[in-house]
Amino acid sequence: MELCDNPEVPLSGLDTTSVARCLSQIADHGNDLADAFFERLEEVEYPAADEAPGIRVRREEGFAIRLVRDGRTWLAARDQIATAAFGEALRQVARALPSAPYPEPALDPAPFPSLEDTSRLARFPTSVTRAIRRRLAAFPMRLRVRRHRRWIRVIGTQLAPEPQSESFHSCDVDLPWGRFGALIPDLSAASVERLATSLTTLFRAQEAPRVKPTRCGVVLGPPAAAVLLHEVVGHALETDTLMMGGRVESALGLQLGGPLLNVLDDPTNAPESVRRSSDDEGMIAVRRWLLREGVVEQPLADLFSAHDSRALMPGAARRGTRHRAPAPRSTHLELLPGESSLEDLLAETDGGLYFPEVSRGQLDPLSGRFSIFLPHGRRISGGSLGELVGACRLHGTVSGLLGGIVGVGSDVESAGAGWCAKNGLKLPVWASAPSIRIEAAEVES
C-alpha cells in the first residue's frame, strides 16, 4: 500500500494502490478509461479597506471519479474526501457492479495546514497605492488581492503521477471607469510596479481621444500579444474546438500563420509556482509545438480526444472544478522570440497604433471570428510612441490575423495572461511572449 502520512505533503493519506484497484474493477472493457481526481483548494482574500468582512478564507476539498467508454463519460463528484463517499461515487459511475468488489480504499487526508502568514498579502494594496503616487497620480480605487493555492492528485488504473500544486495571486480593482483584473505569479516589488503602471495608464487614458474605425498597422506589447495568442492560437487549437468543425486531424499541417510564428504550450516552463509536470488527467505535461513556423503541429488534446488517434498527444487536460469533466486547454503559451527589437517594430509601423495590454478577448469557434478589447494605446509616429488613445477593439478572423503577423520582437516577457472562462470553466492561464507587429489590423472604438 502506498500511503504517505506526512501532513506537510498535500493530499497525503490517500491509499493510491487501493484506489487504482477499485478503478480497475469498473474499467472492465478493453478501451475503458477510469480515474480519480482529488483536489484541495485554498483562497485567501483581502478586500478593499472599506469593505466588510475583512480577511476572507475559502478552503475546499473533494474528488471525482470518471469512467470513459465508447465516447461516453460518467462522472461522480463529492465535496469531501472520505472512504464511504468514494465507494458511493464509484458505484454511481460503474456500469455494472463487480460481484466481488475490492474493499474501499483508506482515504484519510491530513487536515488543512494552518493558514500561512498573510501579512505580505495584506500590505499589497498599500504598496500599489504608493507606487501610483510615485507616478504623480491619484484616483479612487478599491483593490482586492487574493492568494490561490491548489493541490491535486490524479490516480488512474495503472498510474499515479506525483501530486501537483499551484500557487499564484490575483487582484481585481474597481475604478470609477470600470474594472481591472490581473494574475500575478508573486507579490514582488516588480509586480507592484507593473500593476501601478497599468492602473496609472488606464487612468490617464480616460480623457484620451477615441480611435476612428480603421485598418492599420498595429504593434502589440508582450502582455497584449499573450492574450491574443491565447484566443486565436490556444483556443483555436483545442481539440474540443476543432471537433466542432469536423475531424481534428485535418487541422494538422495547416499553414495558419506566417513563418515567424512558433507557438508552444509548455506547462513545465510556466512560472515556478504554477509549473506542472502532469496535467489534470495525470498525463505527462510536454513541451507542445502548436505552430511551427506557422504550421499546425500538435493541437491541445486530452485523453478523450487522443484516445482513438495516433496523431494526437494527451497531456493538456485541465479541470476548472472536480464537478466538471476535464477539457483540453492551454496552461502556459509561449511565442518564441524573433530578431526585431521593439524599436524596429515601431519604426516599421509608422502611422499605426501600439497597444501594451488587453482587457479581455473572445473567439467564436465556428466562424473563426475573434475580438480583443484594448483599454488604451498609443499612436506610433516617427518610429516612437506618441499620443495616448482610449479604449478600442481589435477584431477579425483567426486566419486573417495570424497571416497578418509580420514581425515578432525579441523582448520576451513572462506574464499572467489572465483568467480563461471558455464554456464556464474558469482557469488561470499563463504565457510568455514578445511584442508582435500586425499588418492591416481592423480596429474600432
Partner: protein, 436 residues
Amino acid sequence: MTRELARSVLDALAGRGLNEAEVYFKSGRSRRFEIGPQGRIASSSQEEGWAVRAGSDRASFFVAGTGQPTVDGPWPDPDGQPLRLPPAVSIPSWKPPGDLEAPLAGEIEAIRLLEAIEKSLRSELAGARLVRGLLDEGSSQTSILTSRGIEEEYRSRAASLYVEATGPVQGAETARISMASRELRSFQAPMIAHRLVDRLLLQGQGEAPERDRGELLLGPALGVRLLVALLPLLMGGGSDALVRSLRDRRGRIGSELLIVKDDGRYRGGVLEAPVDGEGWPTRETLLIAEGRFRQPLASWKDAKRLGLQVSGCVRRASWRDLPRVGPSHLFLVPSPDVKVASLLAAVARGYYLIDTQGSGRFDLERDRFRLPVCGFVLRQGRAAAPLSGAWLTGSISSWLRGIQGVARDLEFQPWSGMIGSPTTLVTGLELRRNPE
C-alpha cells in the same frame, strides 16, 4: 448540519469576542448532461459547503469550506471593517413549491431530451446540427443561523438548458439559447429546436437595412437584454446620477407602460424563496412605476441608510460567495390583456426583432447603446422579409420613453438572477447596417 452545531459555532465565536456572527450552510445534489465535442457526459455531484461571517465592533472575517464547520475553525484573526448583520424580523408565510419532492431527471430522460432537440433541428433544417447541448438540474437545502436571532431553512430546485446549433451556411455564427426552469421536464424539445431553426435561417437569409426607423416590436429576448443593460440603474450603489440624467421635465424616466419589479417570491420562479441570502424576507419591490423611478434594489443596510424599502434581494451565488445585492426575478410587468398578435397587427411598417446576435455595447453614462439583432421586416402586420446583421442603436432614454405597447408573454432568462420581459412595441430607435 444540525442547528446544535451551528449554535455551538456561534457560541465559540462569541467566546472570542465575535458577537456578530452568521453560519450559512448549503447542501445539494445536481446532475449535468452534456452532448458535444467531448462526447456524451453524465455527471452527478453531491455538494456540501458552509460559510461563517463573524466580527466584533472593530474587525471581521469570512471563512468558507466544504463539509461542515467545526467549532474550532480554525478561524483567522479578524481584520478590516466591523460587520453588521440584519436583525431578525418576522417572515411572511410562504408555501414551498409543490415540485420540491419531484425526483431529478435521470440520464436516459435527459439525453433523450437533448437527442430530441437534435432530431427536430435536423428535420426542420437540412444541414443544421447541435454543436453543444447542456442540461443541469439540482436541488438544495439552505440554512442560516445568526447571533441576531435569524434561524431560517428552505429548499430550492432549478434546471437550466443551454443549446448551441450551427446551420448550413458556412462561416455563420452559431445560434444559442439559454433557459432556466424549476424542472428539466418543462423544457419542450420541438419548441427549442424551432427557435434555433428560426435564428439559423435568419442568419443565412436575412439582410440589414442601411439605416431605418419605424415601429419596432421587440421580442422578450431583446427586452431582457435591454433590462440587463439597465441593471446598474436598478441595483443601487451610485445609481442616483444615472437616474437624474434620464429624468424628463415631468420626472419620468420612461413611458407610462414601463413598470419594473423584482420579486423574490415570484410564484413558480426558479429562485423563489422565503428569505434572501442573509435571512431577510423576500418580497415584491416596485422599482419603476408608470415610468417613474421609485427605488433601486436595497439590502436592509442600504435601506436603513437611504430610507428605502428593504427588497430582500441579497443573493449568494454559492456557499463560497459573500452575499451581494442582486435581482431575483426582475421583470418588465406584462399587460395581461394584450396579445403579441395584436401588437404585431398594429405595425404598418417596421420590424419584429426576435433575438440578439452578440453582446452589443451599452454606455449608460453617455446614454447610448448598440446591439446586434435579427428578426423580420414587417409590412401591414406581416413578416415581409428576414432581417439579420442589423444593429439596433439609439439612446437608452429613447428606448425607455418609446415603449408604446406591452404584451402579456412574459419570459424569463437566466442572467445574474432571472430577468424577464414580454414583447414590447417601441419607437424612437434605429436599425443600421453599420453601427458607427
